[in-house]
């Protein structure tokens, strides 16, 4: 349908405003100083309002908002367009991204107070938001890729915000390089699609694939390459290693990366190109099994972490695995619903962790203890988020997670169902282990004894998010599924997958809630009445404990497989550069300067010498040109001989 110019301007302003804020803060940040946050919050709040307009336009039932302008015109080779495509999925994402970003920017004002790059922090935060909004709006691969890379750049800048700390600088580099592997694969996939179909727009590729312009193994390879891009961004196995290290960034940044911007991009990419994915059964299975495996793997890794942010980080990896699992088994709405719910409770968990860190300047949960009385708001909001994450009725996480696990069972993916159910148990266990150890019992250190509740500007957003973590799921209950009406797979995807609606299964829901409660109970039993029990347990299974604590030794494995060989290649190249190339280049330079030294006397500074050269040259040229006249030649040779004699006498 056609939009009015006003509507188009509003849509364009959604990513445009944060981008504008970025430029304003970059240019004038040093004068604004702490005032930067007000500029940023104003910008992103306006974006949120406009996003709500966009959501309203879509809800009104006008169909997707779709317009574009030509960007690169290749003439015969077609053209690339910059455009906007907003359906229910994109509208939902816009609102979530803007909202979470707004909460985090409010919170950051207090958290980052006194930071020497305060304005720059806000500038990049806004660029991050703008890139993610642009990514959400993109109707074609090439536009998506532009914003995709911008998101990667911003995550690099923000993870390395405290780059004076070597670990932060390393974590930023690691995040950038690991996601880059995925980016390269995504780009290769885009090129394959473009070569085969001559278009990069999602719709065009879908139609071309249906018409059979690209098919068979080539199509599957291209889809899997695109999925590898999503793996990199969404920190799925085997490219998940960057996300836990990304905790070196400021905590609100972790919240933004984990809730709305960076990691959601991968899941969103799969959802956005769902019509393409569903045409390859193999690719869908890859998505589902990678997701399921990642969910389980990350949950086990989270069990042993002492750093509260790392526990939450692994839980993000695990929850993203759920979303991928849902998309892979064809349960599109459930996956996106989980993305939506996850954004709120995961942002809240991070803000809570940030609140603790501000209060007592430690990440280690075993140095906390007893914070329940000192920081009641943080405690209760964290508990709400934890229950939501564990999928306990009626918190928001319950509705989406239950939908995923239920459809895994009903679509007959029993292995995935078992993995998902086990993950529910582990999720409840690890998150309540962290909450119980941090908030219950006795204070373990001086810092924990003297911790005070964070200021209102920090707890405010936390309370709002806690409210959402409790109720956000209510838009998608089995009674009235508003969310499912807004964000549904296209009729095409539904046909290909042969989806049929399943009735809500109370039995399955009861089972997974029971498993979740069991996890919480185990966490309580292990860590609250007798904490030494957990220590004894970890000592008995010290091998397993070390295995989990080291993240299944993935870092060591990648270190041995890729990093060290890469370093060795680097050293070899450096040696080669210094020894072989360096010497060659130096040799050429020395040779040139030596020849120059030899030739230097020729430039005597005497005009007469130069005139002599000219004369001799002219005579030689004359000889060459007039060579056929033997007489002339002889005469010239004689002349030259004369001149040479003259010069000899002269010099």
């Amino acid at each position: 349908m056609a939009q009015t110019v006003g509507q188009q301007l509003i849509i364009a302003a959604i990513p445009g405003l944060p981008l504008l804020v970025f430029f304003v803060l970059t240019l004038f940040g040093r004068y604004l100083k702490e005032g930067a946050q007000f500029v940023a919050i104003f910008g992103v709040a306006t974006s949120l309002v406009f996003s709500c307009f966009a959501l309203f336009f879509v809800l009104r039932g006008d169909g997707p908002i779709d317009f574009a302008v030509n960007w690169i015109d290749l003439g015969e080779g077609g053209s690339f367009q910059m455009g906007v495509y907003i359906d229910g999925l994109a509208a939902m994402m816009l609102v979530v991204v803007c909202f979470v970003s707004l909460m985090i920017q409010l919170y950051s004002g207090a958290f980052m107070l006194g930071d020497k790059r305060f304005a720059w922090y806000y500038a990049v935060l806004n660029l991050f938001t703008a890139s993610m909004l642009g990514l959400v709006l993109a109707p074609s691969f090439i536009e998506l890729y532009v914003f995709w890379e911008l998101v990667g750049l911003c995550s690099y800048l923000l993870i390395g915000h405290w780059f004076e700390k070597p670990s932060a600088a390393k974590a930023a580099t690691k995040a950038f390089i690991v996601t880059r592997i995925g980016d390269a694969a995504l780009f290769a996939g885009i090129i394959m699609f473009w070569r085969a179909t001559g278009t990069t727009s999602f719709e065009g590729i879908t139609q071309a694939a249906q018409a059979g312009f690209i098919g068979g193994s080539l199509f599957t390879v291209a889809v899997v390459l695109v999925f590898i891009g999503a793996i990199g961004k969404s920190a799925q196995f085997p490219l998940h290693v960057w996300l836990p290290d990304a905790m070196e960034g400021p905590t609100p940044v972790s919240a933004l990366i984990h809730a709305a911007t960076m990691v959601a991009a991968g899941v969103y990419l799969v959802a956005r190109t769902y019509d393409i994915f569903v045409q390859s059964e193999t690719a869908m299975l890859v998505v589902a099994y990678i997701g399921g495996f990642t969910a389980l793997m990350a949950a086990t890794m989270a069990l042993t972490k002492k750093d509260i942010k790392r526990v939450i980080a692994y839980s993000t990896v695990s929850q993203l695995g759920y979303m991928m699992l849902a998309l892979g088994i064809g349960s599109f709405t459930a996956g996106m619903f989980h993305l939506y719910n996850h954004a709120f409770f995961k942002a809240l968990l991070f803000l809570g962790a940030g609140s603790i860190i501000t209060a007592m300047n430690s990440y280690n949960i075993f140095e906390m203890g007893g914070l329940r009385r000192r920081m009641p708001i943080t405690f209760w909001t964290m508990v709400a988020a934890g229950l939501s994450l564990a999928g306990i009725f009626p918190f928001s996480g319950f509705w989406s997670k239950e939908a995923i696990i239920g459809s895994a069972f009903e679509e007959h993916f029993y292995v995935l169902y078992a993995m998902a159910l086990l993950t529910v148990f582990l999720t409840a266990l690890y998150i309540f282990r962290a909450i119980f150890v941090a908030f219950m019992g006795e204070p373990q250190t001086e810092g924990a004894r003297e911790a005070v509740e964070s200021p209102g500007i920090m707890t405010g957003p936390m309370v709002i998010l806690a409210f959402l973590a409790v109720v956000s799921g209510l838009v998608g209950t089995p009674l009235r599924d508003f969310f499912g009406e807004l964000v549904a797979p296209s009729t095409f995807a539904a046909e290909v997958l042969g989806l049929e609606p399943h009735p809500f299964s109370y039995l399955l829901a009861a089972v997974s809630v029971a498993v979740g409660v069991g996890g919480i109970a185990l966490a309580y039993a292990l860590y609250v009445p007798k904490p030494e029990r957990a220590t004894a347990l970890s000592r008995r299974f010290s091998g397993l404990y070390a295995f989990l604590d080291n993240g299944w030794y993935f870092d060591a494995l990648y270190g041995a497989l890729f990093v060290r060989p890469a370093m060795a290649v680097g050293r070899f190249v450096r040696e080669f550069d210094q020894r072989a190339l360096g010497r060659f280049v130096t040799g050429v330079g020395r040779g040139a300067s030596g020849i120059g030294e030899r030739l230097r006397p020729l430039q005597s500074g005497g005009a007469q010498n130069y005139a002599l050269f000219i004369l001799v040259s002219v005579l030689i040229l004359g000889v060459i040109v007039g060579a056929q006249y033997a007489f002339l030649t002889v005469a010239l040779i004689a002349g030259i001989a004369l001149v040479v004699v003259a010069v000899g006498a002269r010099l």
Binding site: R600, P601, L602, Q603, S604, G605, G606, A607, Q608, A611, L612, L615, A646, V647, R650
Partner: protein, 116 residues
């Protein structure tokens, strides 16, 4: 042009062939180049350059007179060359003067600031 003068010129032309003028011109040119390359005094160098220029002029005028189709163009060229030579001398002598003022010499061998 009176008949007497015409007659004299015809006689002259009959006795001295074109090659005579050209040989004289070539010798003058060679002397000029030799001098310009060899002499150390800048003023003498200029004089030698004048010599080469006039050698060329001689050739031009001779051609103009001997070649029936030339139509006297060579003479016009000669006048042009004389004018250019005058200008060249003016500039050249000014340079020589300036050099003399700063360096107290007009020996071209000692003027080698551009030595590499």
């Amino acid at each position: 042009m009176t008949p007497q003068v015409q007659q004299f010129l015809d006689t002259l032309n009959a006795t001295i062939p074109l090659e005579g003028y050209l040989v004289v011109g070539a010798i003058m040119f060679a002397i000029g180049v030799w001098g310009a390359l060899i002499r150390r005094n800048a003023v003498v160098v200029f004089m030698c350059i004048e010599l080469t220029i006039n050698a060329v002029n001689l050739s031009l005028v001779a051609f103009a007179d001997y070649l029936p189709d030339a139509g006297g163009a060579g003479v016009g060229y000669a006048v042009l060359v004389i004018a250019v030579a005058a200008a060249e001398v003016a500039v050249g002598l000014a340079i020589a003067l300036a050099v003399y003022r700063t360096r107290r010499t007009v020996n071209v061998d000692e003027v080698n600031l551009m030595k590499g």
